[in-house]
C-alpha cells in the first residue's frame, strides 16, 4: 500500500534526456581540488603536506571529532597546494590541490568480502573510514545515520530510489548498471541495522528499474519494491516514510524513533564497494542534462575534478546556458563558474536554458493559497515572508519556519513568482544566528 503525503508539485520530469544514456567514464584531469568540507559538519584537517606523493584511495584529510568523514585522493600524484578556495556549497574553504601523475597507482585496499562475520560496530567504522556519505541531496554521513542508539529497535530499512528531482538520472543509472552492487550494499545495510524488512521506494517513472529489482529480489520475502506515484518531493525523507509506511514523523524526531532508517540507493553501491572491495568514495555518478548541453549524458567522475573537466565531455553551449546548477532544479545550488570542484554530493550538473527556467514576472501576492497547498510540510510560506520582512523572528519560530525543508514547491507553484524560498532561507539563517548568540 502506498500512502499519500500532503502537498507537493508535478514538474515535468525531463528525465528523457539522459535516462537511457549509459554511464560514461571520465578521463581523469591533470589537476584536482578537494575541499575539506563536503557536507554539513566539521571541517577536516589535512593529513598530507605540500609536495607529498599520494596514491588513489589515500586518505587526504580527516577529522576525529564531530560529524565528519575523511576524504581520499581519486588519482595518484603530488599535493601541490593547500589553500582557501571557493567551493560549490557557497563560500570559501581550505582545499587540497593535487597534480595527477597519471600512474593510476592504488594504495593497498583492505577488503571484507565476508562482511557478515564482522561486528556491526566494525562495519559502521569501515563505512566511516571509506568516507561514505548519503547521495540523496543532504550528503549526510552514512555512518552517522547507521549509528542509532542501542535502545532503538530498527524494524524497517527504506531504500530511497525515488529520485524525484527533475532531470536527474544518476540514481536510476546506478540501479540499472550496478544492480548487484546496490543489492549487496542494501544487504550490508540491512545486516548492520538488524532490520526485519527492507522497502525500496522507487517512482513509477522508472519502470525498468522497478522490474529489474523485482526480478532480482523476488526470492526474498522481507524485501519489497514499491512503485510510488511521481510527485515531488517524494524522495524527501519525511515524505518517503509517510508514502511507504503511512507514519508521520513528528517534528524534532528522527526516523529511528519510528524504527526506520532511510538510505539512498546509490549510497548502497558505495557501501558495497567500501566494505567488500575496500574502495573509498572517490567518484560520483553525475547527470549532465539541460538544454545547455549538446549531448546530455551520465558520467562517472572522479571527486576533485572541476565542473569544466566533465562538462566539456558533452559540449556545453555557454550561450544557451543561463544557469549552471549543482544538483536538481528544485533544490540544487546555482554556480557562477565551471572552475569549481566536484564534491561527494554532486549528483548532477545542469545547464539550463532560459526556456527551461521558465522565469515569470514577479507581482503582488494574490493570496491564492497555492503555496500553502503545495507545501509538503504543511507550512504557511506566505506568512513567513511577511514576518521575515518585518523581522518578527520570534513569531517566525512559533510558525515553525525551521521545519521548512527548502524543497522549493512554494516558489515553484506561485503564480506571482514571489521569492518565497529565498526569503524563508534568509529568515532561517537569521534565526540560527540569533540562537547562536
Amino acid at each position: 500500500m502506498v500512502w499519500k503525503f500532503k502537498g507537493g508539485v508535478h514538474p515535468a520530469d525531463k528525465k528523457e534526456f539522459t535516462q537511457d544514456m549509459e554511464i560514461e567514464t571520465q578521463e581523469p584531469p591533470t589537476r584536482l581540488y578537494f575541499p575539506l568540507l563536503q557536507h554539513i559538519g566539521s571541517e577536516l584537517t589535512p593529513l598530507v603536506k605540500i609536495g607529498a606523493r599520494v596514491k588513489i584511495g589515500q586518505k587526504l584529510a580527516e577529522c576525529e571529532r564531530g560529524l565528519a568523514t575523511p576524504i581520499h585522493s581519486s588519482v595518484s600524484g603530488y599535493v601541490r597546494n593547500i589553500s582557501r578556495q571557493v567551493f560549490p556549497l557557497n563560500g570559501v574553504v581550505e582545499t587540497i590541490e593535487i597534480e595527477n601523475d597519471f600512474k593510476e597507482e592504488w594504495i593497498e585496499l583492505e577488503k571484507f568480502p565476508h562482511w557478515y562475520e564482522i561486528s556491526r560496530e566494525k562495519l559502521i567504522e569501515i563505512i566511516r573510514e571509506k568516507g561514505i556519505v548519503g547521495k540523496g541531496g543532504a550528503t549526510f554521513p552514512t555512518y552517522a545515520k547507521l549509528s542509532v542508539p542501542s535502545s532503538a529497535r530498527i524494524e524497517t530499512l527504506i531504500i530511497n530510489g525515488a529520485e524525484c528531482e527533475p532531470y536527474l538520472t544518476s540514481d536510476y543509472r546506478v540501479m540499472m548498471e550496478y544492480t548487484q552492487k546496490v543489492i549487496g550494499g542494501v544487504k550490508i545495510l540491512g545486516y548492520i541495522l538488524g532490520v526485519k524488512k527492507i522497502i525500496f521506494g522507487i517512482e513509477k517513472n522508472k519502470p525498468h528499474a522497478i522490474e529489474l529489482l523485482r526480478n532480482e529480489l523476488h526470492d526474498y520475502d522481507d524485501i519489497e519494491i514499491i512503485a510510488l506515484p511521481t510527485r515531488y518531493p517524494q524522495g524527501g525523507e519525511k515524505q518517503l516514510i509517510k508514502a511507504l509506511t503511512g507514519k508521520e514523523l513528528s517534528p524534532g524526531k528522527l526516523p529511528y524513533e519510528l524504527g526506520i532508517v532511510v538510505q539512498n540507493i546509490t549510497t548502497a553501491k558505495y557501501v558495497f564497494e567500501g566494505v567488500v572491495e575496500g574502495i573509498p568514495m572517490i567518484d560520483t555518478v553525475i547527470t549532465l542534462s539541460g538544454e545547455g548541453y549538446n549531448r546530455p549524458t551520465n558520467v562517472l567522475a572522479r571527486l576533485g575534478s572541476r565542473f569544466k573537466d566533465v562538462v566539456k565531455m558533452v559540449e556545453i553551449d555557454h550561450n544557451r546556458t543561463e544557469k549552471l546548477i549543482m544538483g536538481g532544479p528544485m533544490m540544487g545550488i546555482a554556480q557562477y563558474s565551471v572552475d569549481l570542484p566536484i564534491i561527494k554530493g554532486t549528483t548532477g550538473i545542469l545547464a539550463l536554458s532560459k526556456y527551461e527556467l521558465n522565469k515569470k514576472r514577479t507581482k503582488s501576492c494574490i493570496s491564492c493559497g497555492r503555496c500553502i497547498k503545495a507545501c509538503p510540510m504543511n507550512l504557511h510560506p506566505l506568512e513567513f515572508v511577511k514576518l521575515v520582512l518585518n523581522e518578527e523572528f520570534e513569531s517566525l519560530e512559533n510558525f515553525h519556519i525551521m521545519k521548512c525543508i527548502d524543497c522549493g514547491c512554494c516558489t515553484y507553484i506561485c503564480p506571482s513568482n514571489r521569492p518565497l524560498v529565498e526569503t524563508i532561507k534568509l529568515g532561517k539563517s537569521k534565526i540560527r544566528e540569533l540562537n547562536r548568540k
Binding site: 544557469k323 544538483g327 503582488s364
Partner: protein
C-alpha cells in the same frame, strides 16, 4: 568571453501558471455566460458588456497614470472585474451608471487598497452594491429578454410564495428548465445556470478554482432554503447564487486560502444568502453575503492556519 551565469536561490524552475494565465482562464470561463447574455438580451448586452470592459481598462490604466505607477499590460484582472460587474446588473441599466459602477469597483474596490492582491472586498461586488444603494430603482428594474419588464423569480417568491413563482413558467419542471437555460428575468449573466456551469467546469478542469467554496456555499443555500420551506432547487438557481458561488466567492484575493477556510467561507456566505433572502429587505443577498464574508476572511485565515507536518499525525 563566456556569457555570465545567473545565480539565485533554488528552486530554479517555475510552474507555467501565472496571474495572467489565471485571469485568462477566468475570462475564458465567462465566455459562455457572455454568449448567453447576448442571446437573450441582444444588442443591449453587447453594448453593456463592451462599455464595462472598455471602462475597466481605461479606469485601471488611468489610475496607474495618475499615481505614476507603471501600467502592467499583462494584467487582465480589470477586464474580469468589468465583465463580472456587467453580468450582475440589469441589462437596461443606463450606461453612465454602469461606468460609475466600474469606477467604484476598480478605484474604491481595489486601487485604494494598493491594487490587485491587496484588496479586501471583491471589486465587482463593491461596484454593484454601490449602484444598488445609489439607484435602487434602476438596479432592480429587470428587463426580460423580450423587452418586457417585470419581477424576478426571487421577488415573486418573496412577495407571493413558491407557487406564484411556478405560475410564472407554468409547471415546476418547466420552471426548472427555464431557470437552467436562462430564459427568465434577471441580471445580464445571472440567468443562465447552464452557461455559468460550463464556465465553472472549465475552471475546475484547469484547477483554477477548487470545489470547496462553491460546493459548501450552494449546499448550504440548498439545505437552509429547504428548511425554511422554499423550493431548494429554485433557490440555488435563482438570483446571483451560481455566478456568485463560482466566480466571486472563489476570487483568490478576497477569500480564504486553505480548503478548510474556503468551506467556512462557503457555509457562512450560504447561510447569509438565505437569511437575507428570507428576513432582509432585499429579495437577493448573494452580493452582500459574499462582501460580509470577505470582511471576515482575514479572521478565517487566522483560524484555519495549517498545522505543520507531523503535528496532526497519529504517529510518534
Amino acid at each position: 568571453m563566456l556569457k555570465k551565469l545567473r545565480v539565485s536561490s533554488s528552486p530554479h524552475i517555475r510552474s507555467n501558471e501565472t496571474v495572467t494565465t489565471i485571469m485568462r482562464d477566468v475570462l475564458i470561463a465567462l465566455v459562455p455566460s457572455m454568449v448567453m447574455a447576448i442571446v437573450f438580451f441582444r444588442v443591449q448586452a453587447v453594448i453593456l458588456l463592451l462599455t464595462c470592459m472598455a471602462a475597466s481598462l481605461i479606469i485601471e490604466w488611468g489610475v496607474h497614470i495618475t499615481f505614476k505607477r507603471k501600467i502592467d499590460f499583462t494584467d487582465t484582472s480589470p477586464l474580469v472585474t468589468g465583465i463580472l460587474l456587467a453580468l450582475i446588473v440589469p441589462s437596461n441599466l443606463p450606461l453612465w451608471m454602469a461606468i460609475i459602477g466600474v469606477f467604484v469597483a476598480i478605484f474604491f474596490g481595489k486601487m485604494v487598497f494598493g491594487g490587485l492582491g491587496h484588496n479586501i472586498f471583491n471589486p465587482a461586488l463593491v461596484g454593484r452594491c454601490f449602484l444598488l444603494a445609489s439607484w435602487p430603482v434602476a438596479m432592480t428594474n429587470w428587463a426580460s429578454f423580450d423587452g418586457v419588464s417585470g419581477a424576478t423569480v426571487l421577488n415573486t417568491i418573496k412577495m407571493h410564495g413558491n407557487s406564484a413563482a411556478t405560475a410564472l413558467f407554468g409547471t415546476t419542471s418547466g420552471e426548472y428548465l427555464h431557470m437552467f437555460l436562462g430564459s427568465r428575468l434577471g441580471s445580464l449573466g445571472e440567468t443562465s445556470t447552464l452557461a455559468l456551469l460550463i464556465g465553472a467546469l472549465y475552471l475546475f478542469l484547469r484547477r483554477t478554482i477548487s470545489w470547496h467554496t462553491p460546493a459548501s456555499m450552494i449546499g448550504t443555500v440548498f439545505l437552509l432554503s429547504w428548511c425554511v420551506g422554499r423550493d431548494p432547487i429554485l433557490s440555488i438557481m435563482s438570483g446571483g447564487l451560481i455566478l456568485g458561488a463560482f466566480f466571486m466567492a472563489t476570487d483568490m484575493v478576497t477569500t480564504p486560502k486553505t480548503g478548510m477556510g474556503k468551506i467556512i467561507f462557503g457555509v457562512g456566505a450560504g447561510a447569509l444568502v438565505v437569511w437575507i433572502r428570507v428576513k432582509g429587505g432585499y429579495p437577493e443577498g448573494v452580493a452582500y453575503a459574499i462582501l460580509l464574508m470577505n470582511a471576515v476572511t482575514p479572521l478565517i485565515d487566522k483560524m484555519t492556519k495549517p498545522k505543520p507536518f507531523g503535528y496532526g499525525g497519529k504517529n510518534a
